[in-house]
Every structure is written in C-alpha cells, then in structure tokens.
Amino acid sequence: MIKQHYQSIIIQTICSLLIPFIQLFALYVIFHGHYGPGGGFQGGVLLAVSVILQRLYLGTKISYRKFSPKLALALGASGLLIYGLAGIIPMAYGASFLDYGSLPLFWVHEAERRALGILIVEIGIGLGVFGTLVLIFDNLVGERW
C-alpha cells in the first residue's frame, strides 16, 4: 500500500521535475516512429512510467485524484477503439480492412494518407499500452478504486 507521500523534499522535487520530461520524450518517441526507432509500444510504456512514478512519490490518495485508474481503463480501451476504427472506416469506403489509403482524409495525397494512418494507429497503440500498464500497476498495489 502506498498510503502517504514521501516527506523528502529531494524526492518530491526531482520527481516533479522529471515527469514532464519523461512525458515529452514519450510523445517524441511516439511521433518520431516514422523517422527512427520508436513507435506506439515504446512511447506508451514511457507514458505509463511517468504516471507510475507519480503514484510512487505522491501516494495513491493524491495521485488517484490527479489521474484516476478509471481514466486509465478508458484510455486503454479508447486506444484499441482508435485502432479498430482505423481498420473499419476504410471498409465503408470500399477498401479492405486496415487499408489506410482510403481513410476519409481527402485533402492529402494517398501515400500521405497512409502515413497519417500509420500515425493514427501508433497513437492508438500508445494509448492502449499506456492504459494497460497503469491499470496493472494500480491493481497490483491493491487499493480500492
């Protein structure tokens, strides 16, 4: 049980300074997947780590108010939903499942549409992994939410 937060000023300062940079790096990893190593899985894990670090140094009572486990569940499910919709919407336009070239983004070229489709899918993966990992941590801690 993580009942009360650490009294140490060093831990609080370092963690609160570190968390925004971890989140920024996670977004960089997700959006840089087109040009280098990275992608949804890795970025999602980094996002989850930032929330888990907050849980560790603030304690669950305050941290659940800032980022509730129900929100994590909703984000994980919506990530999966984004991926599924990116697969199903092209079928409504006569293409096959997961054919991002037929996504209804008519203002860009077809190859650009595929690149945007990959980006949408990576965001979905990232949200799914993020929500799932935070959920697993919250349930291992064992507090009621």
Binding site: H34, G84, A115, E122
Partner: protein
C-alpha cells in the same frame, strides 16, 4: 536411464549441428527469406507510405493486422489482471 537421456540429447545436438550446414549465410541477399517480399517492401515503402522508416511501415501498414492482434493481446492481458486482482466489497 540417465545415460539414455544424454545419448538422445547428443543425437539431437548432432542433428541440429548437421542442419546448420544447410542454412544460408548471415545477411546473404540471395537467401530465400530475403528474396520473397523484402525487396518489395524496401523498394516501395517511400512510394506507398511516405515513411522513411521501413520497420514502422511494415509493422503498422503492411502487417497492420498482426499489430492489431498484438494490441488486443496486451489489452486483454491487462483486463485479465484487473479481473483477478481487483478488490471487491
């Protein structure tokens, strides 16, 4: 019994070592694995998807179905953890 086990293990090890002789060389461009679909991916990635990272385009576009399955597996595993560990009244 113990010696029989060791003998069987040695026989299998010899079989595996014999099979490695027939494998293609490391990073051989003429290997069967590199001549099937890999050239198409390498040549058409920029034209098809405007994505310089071939790994990403294979993962999320050419093999998107596979990645959808992976994401479903991860989320299902998380849900199973929740159902097992959740505190009930």
């Amino acid at each position: 019994m113990k010696w029989l086990n060791i003998l069987i293990m040695l026989l299998f090890a010899a079989l595996m070592l014999y099979a490695t002789v027939g494998l293609p060389d490391h990073a051989d461009p003429q290997a069967p694995a590199s001549t099937h679909v890999s050239p198409t991916y390498i040549e058409d990635t920029i034209k098809d998807t405007h994505t310089p990272n071939i790994v990403t385009s294979v993962l999320a576009d050419y093999r998107g179905y596979d990645t959808l399955g992976e994401t479903v597996v991860i989320f299902t595993a998380g849900l199973a953890c929740v159902l097992i560990l959740m505190k009930r009244k």
